[in-house]
Each structure stands twice: as structure tokens, then as C-alpha cells.
């Protein structure tokens, strides 16, 4: 069953009571939430995700719920609960959808040590995965969304999972998080895109999430072979500039970019080493999304 196979009323009822199992990137989350914004978010942005009412084995039991006590009446807050504990500070209740998404990302980045996890977007076309690592604000999510809007498969906008035993990228296909100016940029660039509620005044500014294409969600069990690592940088009014990066400095940048390089120890080193030996690596500066996509597709089809 997929989320969209359930009626809206049933889904809301399950979310409010027993919780419901939803598969995200091969991991099963048991999601419970009495908050309407959360059920709306799931119904609107996760329609194509596999869903089970009574999944026997759950990887991550999670809940987004209002903080109890007096705060219910005065500036109410919502908290993210994982396995009975609250790993981070509650947020204003109207930011619940963002809290859910951040919580899901945290579950994976804090617990999955079978993969080297990079803080980067990753997309794939014709068997070639392109990894886009960059700090927040560099435009990596915008570029990733633009590529997805033009037919690339979304693997992740946020977490690139590289299997330490195979070196392949594991998809973690879930809604794409965009913030501030990039929201309107993508709305006009991606005709027919579906987005969730705007969460204003978060620590990252105004945040919302875009529904991933159905094909990407349905292919979320297909691993992808990394072909390129591109460090994107959005610079206003700039031409497209692309230049190769040497492996040594890319290695250092990716160590800083990884969530668990140090946790993995030797495995982390070997995984990163193997990755950099199999990909072309570029620094990439752009302002026009169309021009950026043309350049990336040219490099992907004809690696130098």
C-alpha cells in the first residue's frame, strides 16, 4: 500500500492514534502525530511512499506532539519524540512539518553507521549519480531541485548515504527542503510542483518542502553509482564557471562535510578514498539554473 491508498480520514485517524508505518529510503518510520499540519504534510508530500498499518519491525518510532503543560495555552510548542526520548529543543507548533523532516533526517544521520553520510544533495540520470556537497546557503538544494524538475532522479536533497561495503549511493527519497528566496525561484522554475505549508521564522528562515517526483520515490530501492562530485556556489549574475578540483583538497572538504567520517574510523577513510577514485570532481559557480543544468548534463554525458 502507498500513503495515497488510504483515505484522508483514515490516515489522520491512524496518525492520531496508533501511528502508521511509512517507508522512507528503505527505513520504516512509525509516525504518530495529533497535529493537523503534520497529517496535511504527510498526505500532500508523501503520497507515493509505501505505507503499512501494522508493520512488524520498525526502524524509527517517532512522534511529533504538542508540549504538554501550560505551554499548550501560551505560544504552544511541538516536540519531536524518538523511541521515548526528546533529542532536541521543541519548536513553535506551526513549524511542526519542518520539525518532522528535521527529526527524520536526524534519525538517519545519528544512527545509520553502515553508510558514510555526507551533508549533500544527490541526483541521478542514466546510472550516473551526481553528488552536490556544500554548506547551507550555497544553493545546493535549489540546484538539486532544478535538476529534479528537469527529469533527474532525486536520491536526496540533504543526506548522501554511501554504502561502506559497495561504495554505491543509497537513495533517501523524501520531500525537498527549500528556504527563503529559493522557494519562489523553484515555484516559477518547476511548473506543476507541489509544496507544503510555509514554516516562517524558523532558525533557517522561511522553510517549506516540495513533493519529490513519483518515479524517484518508486525507485528508492535502486542504488546509484557515483559519477561526479560538484561543489556548487550560487553567485549573483555570474557566468557558469566549472573547474576540476584535485582529490586531496576535495578529500578534506568532504571530511568536514560528512556527518560520521570520524565515527566510521578506517571505514570512513576507505569509503571516501574509493569515492574520490571513481568520480570527477568540480568546483562550480552559477547564477542561471538553466545554464547550470546544461553544463552539468554536458559533463555527465562526456566526462573529461
Amino acid at each position: 500500500m502507498l500513503v495515497s491508498d488510504f483515505s484522508r480520514d483514515d490516515l489522520i485517524r491512524y496518525l492520531k492514534t496508533t501511528g502508521i508505518g511509512i517507508e522512507i529510503g528503505g527505513f520504516w518510520f512509525q509516525i504518530t502525530s495529533p497535529i493537523d499540519d503534520v497529517s496535511d504534510h504527510i498526505i500532500k508530500l508523501y503520497p507515493d511512499a509505501p505505507c503499512q498499518l501494522r508493520r512488524v519491525f520498525i526502524d524509527f518510532p517517532i512522534e511529533v506532539r504538542p508540549v504538554s503543560g501550560l505551554r499548550r495555552w501560551f505560544k504552544p510548542l511541538a516536540e519531536f519524540v524518538f523511541n521515548g526520548s526528546v533529542p532536541f529543543t521543541p519548536l513553535p507548533i506551526d513549524q511542526s512539518p519542518a520539525l518532522l523532516e528535521w527529526g527524520i533526517n536526524w534519525c538517519i544521520s545519528a544512527h545509520v553507521q553502515t553508510h558514510l553520510i555526507l551533508h549533500s544533495a544527490v541526483v541521478e540520470k542514466q546510472g550516473n549519480a551526481v553528488i552536490l556537497p556544500a554548506p547551507s546557503g550555497s544553493g545546493k538544494s535549489t540546484l538539486c531541485t532544478a535538476l529534479v524538475a528537469r527529469g533527474w532522479r532525486l536520491l536526496s536533497d540533504e543526506l548522501t548515504l554511501i554504502d561502506v561495503s559497495s561504495g554505491l549511493v543509497r537513495p533517501l527519497t523524501k520531500p525537498i527542503s527549500l528556504k527563503n528566496e529559493s522557494i519562489s525561484v523553484i515555484e516559477s522554475f518547476w511548473i506543476g510542483s507541489v509544496r507544503g505549508k510555509l514554516c516562517t521564522d524558523t532558525v533557517k528562515g522561511c522553510v517549506t518542502h516540495f513533493k519529490p517526483p513519483k518515479d524517484s520515490v518508486l525507485a528508492s530501492h535502486e542504488m546509484a553509482k557515483p559519477a561526479m562530485v560538484i561543489f556548487p556556489r550560487f553567485v549573483v549574475d555570474s557566468e557558469v564557471l566549472i573547474e576540476p578540483v584535485d582529490k586531496g583538497s576535495a578529500f578534506i572538504d568532504l571530511v568536514d562535510n560528512a556527518f560520521n567520517y570520524h565515527v566510521l574510523g578506517q571505514q570512513g577513510f576507505h569509503t571516501l578514498h574509493r569515492l574520490l577514485n571513481t568520480v570527477d570532481i568540480y568546483d562550480f559557480q552559477y547564477s542561471s539554473l538553466d545554464a547550470a543544468i546544461i553544463e552539468i548534463e554536458r559533463r555527465a554525458n562526456d566526462p573529461s
Binding site: V56, G84, Q113, T114, V263, G265
Partner: protein, 365 residues
């Protein structure tokens, strides 16, 4: 003993049940409980020891192996910290004496394989505290508790300095000079623990095997918080099993507990370790310890209070009235054991009424 939903986890940990015997539904509960009790990494190694990992479904296995990888990182980090720390102690002709988790792990104790720990605990003679603390400052260790009240609270009444946090690495050190607050009703002599400490490598020592057993029990049953109670009791079980203690050894342990004024926590640890982990402790040894001391309220009431907080925390329990009540009552008990009433009232009153205003003043300044 009433059945509880941690039975399968307890039996897996002590090898009474094998991994292949579990259904997927049992694994679901077990993984969640083991995670909330912080023993997933330990469980990985105990199953591996018995070649029990092969029979476990892949969807389950990665939870265990990931936890073991994280535990391994703790071990590497602790080893590096010890490399930096031991010269400070040796320059004073003092051994570096580790306590609890980091000691078990760095001494490669089989029962502690895969164990994590939140800080590195060190035992220092009281006379050397000031010197060691000042030397550690040069290496980047500073106090995380800035308020004057907290500093005085620790230095005057507690058995340890305020936790030291490394400015760059964020590692936390606890410098102890004894194992119970100076204000506690029981008065173990830190000097006796120090003089019996034993080296386990060129640089590092820890308490004698018997004192380790007593310290684990004391840490667990004289405290007011039970977040790590299940794992600490599992330490006790592991220490006892590795010691292979028969009645003669138990006689020595009970005697030592008597000398150090630690019989009550030993009694509880023996009782609940037997109940929960089936730890091999004979009736004769139990009556030896209960000959010295028994709980005033009787076992039934204490069982009611302790069993629920010793088992891994899980959601239904925390929201239940019983869970709430036993946690609160044991919180009060823990504080009462650690401080006489007049000090306790003073301390809690300060924390409730004065401390919040001091913080606010600093923020607005």
C-alpha cells in the same frame, strides 16, 4: 517476579536465549528497549561472541552493528584522551585511576565490549585535586559550571569537582576524590579505595576488582536519577560473572562493603541483579549480606519502587502513574541519602527560588 517486556532483552544479554529464537516482533521490542537503555552496542558484541549474528535478519542487524561502530569511536576517543592525561598524573607520581565505563572499556573487559559512556571518570587523592585541576587547565579543560553557587556546591559537598569540559574536543572529565558525596549518610573512605587500586596497563589503573563491584552498586543505588540504571546493573552482573565469585569471594566482598560503609547499595545490587539478570549469587551469599543490613521498608515496597526504574525506559511506562510516582519517590530518596535534610532544603530552595534570577541577571547584563 512479574513478567515484564524486557525479559527477552535480559536473556539475550546474558546468553540464556539465542538470537535465532526471536520473532521479528520480539526483535522490534528488543531493539527499542536496548536503544533506550543504551546497551545496543553491548548486545551486538554478546551476540557476536556466540556467533549469533548470522541468524539475525538484516533489517535488525544494522541497528546492532551501527551501535557497535559508535561504541568503538568512544573507545578510540577515550584512549586518545588517556594518552594526553596520564603524563599530568605521573608527573605527580600518581597513577591515573579510571572509574566505571571508561575503565571497563579501556581495560578490554569482555562484559563491557560495545559499552558507551558519557564522560571519563577519574579518582584523585583529595590533596592532589587542586594541582591536577590547574594542570588540566593548561591542557584546555575548563569547568562547565560557571555559577559561584554550583562551584561551591560541588567543592564543599560533593565527591567530585564540577565536570571539566575540553574547550576544543568537548570531552567531559569528572575528577572524583571519593565515590559518594561528603554529605551522604554513608561514609566510604576514598583513601582506602586509592590504596587498593590496581594497574591494568603501563599508564592506567582502576579500582581493585572487589571495589569495582562495590562502586558500581553504590553509583547505581545511592543516586537520585536512574537514566543509566539498566546498563549500570548490567555492569554489576558482568563484573560478578567475570569474577566467578563463589561463597568465599562473596564473603570478602561483603566484608569489604562493611569496612567501606557500603552494605546497603551492595544488598540492592545483589538482589536486583539476581532478579533481572539471573546473576549467579547463592542464597548463602544473599543471607550473608542481609545479615548486615536489610531495607527498613521491606523488600516488597523497594521492589515496587526499583523494578520499574531499573528496567529499560519505554514509552508506556513513562506516561504511567506508577512510573511517575516511583521516579519521583526515588528522586527524593536519592537526594535524602546524599545530603542531610537541612542542607537539602537549603540546596533545593536555592535552585528553585534564587538560581533562576541569577541567570536572568547575567543574561540581561
Amino acid at each position: 517476579m512479574t513478567p515484564h517486556n524486557s525479559v527477552v532483552l535480559c536473556r539475550l544479554l546474558t546468553g540464556q536465549v539465542a538470537g535465532y529464537e526471536l520473532s521479528l516482533a520480539e526483535w522490534n521490542t528488543t531493539i527499542q528497549l536496548a536503544r533506550s537503555a543504551n546497551v545496543l552496542g553491548i548486545l551486538y558484541h554478546r551476540l557476536e561472541e556466540k556467533n549469533g549474528l548470522l541468524a539475525i535478519p538484516d533489517v535488525v542487524k544494522w541497528h546492532l552493528s551501527s551501535a557497535a561502530i559508535i561504541a568503538d569511536k568512544y573507545k578510540r576517543d577515550a584512549r586518545q584522551e588517556v594518552e594526553r592525561l596520564w603524563p599530568v598524573f605521573h608527573s605527580r607520581n600518581q597513577p591515573l585511576i579510571l572509574l566505571k565505563g571508561s575503565a571497563y572499556v579501556l581495560a578490554d573487559r569482555p562484559f563491557a565490549k560495545g559499552r558507551t559512556f558519557s564522560d571519563i571518570d577519574i579518582l584523585v587523592p583529595k590533596v592532589d585535586l587542586t594541582y591536577i585541576e590547574s594542570q588540566l587547565r593548561w591542557l584546555g579543560w575548563g569547568s562547565a559550571h560557571h555559577s559561584e553557587y554550583d562551584q561551591r556546591y560541588y567543592r564543599k559537598w560533593m565527591h567530585e569537582l564540577p565536570p571539566l569540559v575540553h574547550a576544543k574536543r568537548g570531552t567531559v572529565l569528572d575528577l572524583h576524590h571519593t565515590i559518594l558525596p561528603l554529605t551522604a549518610s554513608l561514609k566510604p573512605d576514598g583513601a582506602k579505595l586509592l590504596s587498593d587500586a590496581q594497574a591494568f596497563s603501563d599508564q592506567v589503573s582502576t579500582l581493585s576488582p572487589i571495589d569495582q563491584v562495590l562502586h558500581t552498586a553504590t553509583h547505581l543505588f545511592m543516586d537520585s536519577e536512574f537514566d543509566h540504571a539498566f546498563r549500570d546493573l548490567l555492569d554489576f552482573d558482568g563484573l560478578v560473572r567475570e569474577m566467578d565469585a563463589g561463597d568465599a569471594e562473596w564473603e570478602l566482598i561483603v566484608q569489604r562493603a562493611h569496612v567501606l560503609d557500603l552494605v546497603p547499595p551492595l544488598y540492592y545490587a545483589m538482589r536486583y541483579s539476581r532478579l533481572i539478570f539471573n546473576t549467579p549469587i547463592s542464597e548463602a551469599s544473599m543471607s550473608r549480606v542481609s545479615g548486615f543490613w536489610q531495607p527498613k521498608l521491606g523488600d516488597r515496597i523497594m521492589d515496587w519502587l526499583f523494578m520499574s526504574v531499573l528496567l529499560p525506559p519505554h514509552q508506556e511506562f513513562h506516561s504511567s502513574a506508577k512510573g511517575y510516582l516511583s521516579n519521583k519517590m526515588l528522586f527524593i530518596r536519592g537526594h535524602a541519602l546524599r545530603m542531610p535534610l537541612h542542607l537539602l532544603v537549603r540546596h533545593l530552595a536555592f535552585k528553585a527560588f534564587i538560581a533562576p534570577f541569577i541567570k536572568d541577571k547575567k543574561k540581561s547584563a
